[in-house]
Amino acid sequence: MKLFLKIWRQANANSKGKFTEYTLDGIEGDMSFLEMLDILNEDLIAKSEEPVEFDHDCREGICGMCSLQINGEPHGPDRGVTTCQLHMRRFSDGDTIVIEPFRAKAFPVIKDLIVDRSAFDRIQQAGGYVSVNTSGNTIDANAIPIEKENADNAFNAAACIGCGACVAACKNASAMLFTSAKVSQYALLPQGQVEATDRVMSMVKQMDLEGFGNCTNTGACEVECPKGISLENIARMNREYYAASIKG
């Protein structure tokens, strides 16, 4: 198929970017979206032009590295998949595809389609951990009985790969879904109770410091999340936060 691409090009974090248009022919439906971009880059390199920079790693939908706002949606039009698992059969011959970086003040563009998502790392570092002895005397996690529903919900929250699609989709660029998933994965388990109060306070504080927007419960994050992280996590984080605030 023949495609018309409109891609955001930006030399570096400080330069002003702009859209550049490309025409790409010979794209097969079985190619992934990233393979399509690989072909574009091979063409550009053959013409001694600067290839389009984009994030990718596992290309199996599990690492959370790929991003891209495709035709106005993070990871493109499919549900429950990352960009690397989006296939070109989803598009038609002659389509124009607009490809932009994830947009948020807290996710500054590094180059072209690559954004700096280290704000997520700092939120995680602010409290997204448990104090477990890992010096060789670690207690088997399964030695503590955990209600199945809680174990399942904690596991589902932990499925968050931190790709940032929630922020990209949210009209407010809010990071509540990510932060709430990282709070929930510990809040639901006995191992996470020791730091529960400090964790939620610190992570929300860091989230605010990074400059993410306020959640207005539109639910766009849940719909666009490639891992199906639920809004229930945001409600849980709110409860945790209110309880922690009252405890002081």
């Binding site: 409109k6 955001w8 859209f19 706002q69 035709n71 106005g72 949606e73 039009p77 607009v98 932009e100 947009r103 948020a104 003040k105 807290a106 989709a169 009209k171 407010n172 660029a173 809010s174 306070m201 929300v204 504080k205 989230m207 605010d208 400059g211 993410f212 927007g213 306020n214 959640c215 207005t216 419960n217 539109t218 639910g219 766009a220 719909v223 666009e224 809004l231 229930e232 945001i234 409600a235 849980r236 709110n238 409860r239 936060y241 209110y242 922690a244 605030s245 009252i246 002081g248």
Partner: protein, 222 residues
């Protein structure tokens, strides 16, 4: 508590609680207004009570005005912060693919309702303040029904009221249920809350529309 006061979650709580407070007020406002259609004497009686009871006038009324002011100021503050959080906007943003229009445009529906409140205050509240405290006219427990019906005589005012109630309905469609999510309620009761939200956000504004149209179409003739 200091963390709660400064945080983004605190702003959400303020929006949710003030919104739910206004939902309660809206319900009692509707009940009283509806009597203007089915029982004009009761309407006069209740309106007179609301207009002259010191608890209502000097405690509940300031609380209500405070609730409205807090809700819209915080709404605008949140909107400005949220716009800033995006930074550079998308060239193409398919918001309709993942969230309903009502949830993405609370600032628009809210601003229209706020503008309507300006007219509504002018129509009734300013009139009452003038009657009682500026002109210093004597108490008349029988005047309210006729004054209300007369307000809806002009076609333009009735149309503005009807349009505003449609926008209010859209605002409630997202806001009512959203308040519960903000307060941390997302559990087995959530489907019921969503159903109540839909019923409330349609029935109450539709009721207000009915009252406005009824009075417009049934003027008092002497």
């Amino acid at each position: 508590m200091s963390g709660l006061i400064k945080s983004s979650l605190a702003r959400k709580v303020v929006m949710a609680l003030s919104g739910l407070f206004l939902v309660v007020f809206l319900t009692q406002h509707f009940v009283i207004n509806f009597t203007s259609v089915i029982a004009p004497e009761t309407f006069n009686e209740w309106s007179h009570f609301m207009g002259y009871n010191p608890l209502v006038q000097f405690v509940l009324q300031p609380i209500l005005i405070g609730g409205v002011v807090i809700h819209f100021i915080m709404g605008f503050v949140l909107e400005i912060q949220n716009k800033k959080a995006r930074g550079i906007g998308y060239a193409k943003y398919n918001g309709g693919a993942n969230a309903p229009w009502t949830s993405r445009n609370m600032i628009i529906t809210g601003a229209v309702v706020l503008a309507f409140l300006g007219l509504h205050f002018y129509d009734f509240w300013v009139h009452e303040m003038d009657y009682k405290y500026v002109s210093g006219l004597a108490e008349d427990p029988t005047r309210y029904h006729e004054e209300t019906v007369e307000k809806f005589a002009p076609f333009w005012r009735t149309v503005i009221y009807v349009i505003s109630f449609v926008l209010l309905s859209m605002h409630l469609w997202h806001g009512f249920n959203s308040s519960f999510q903000t307060m941390g309620v997302n559990n087995k009761y959530s489907p019921a809350i969503k159903t109540i939200t839909k019923l409330f956000s349609v029935i109450i504004p539709l009721g207000f529309i009915f009252i406005a149209l009824y009075h417009h179409l049934n003027p008092i003739t002497h």
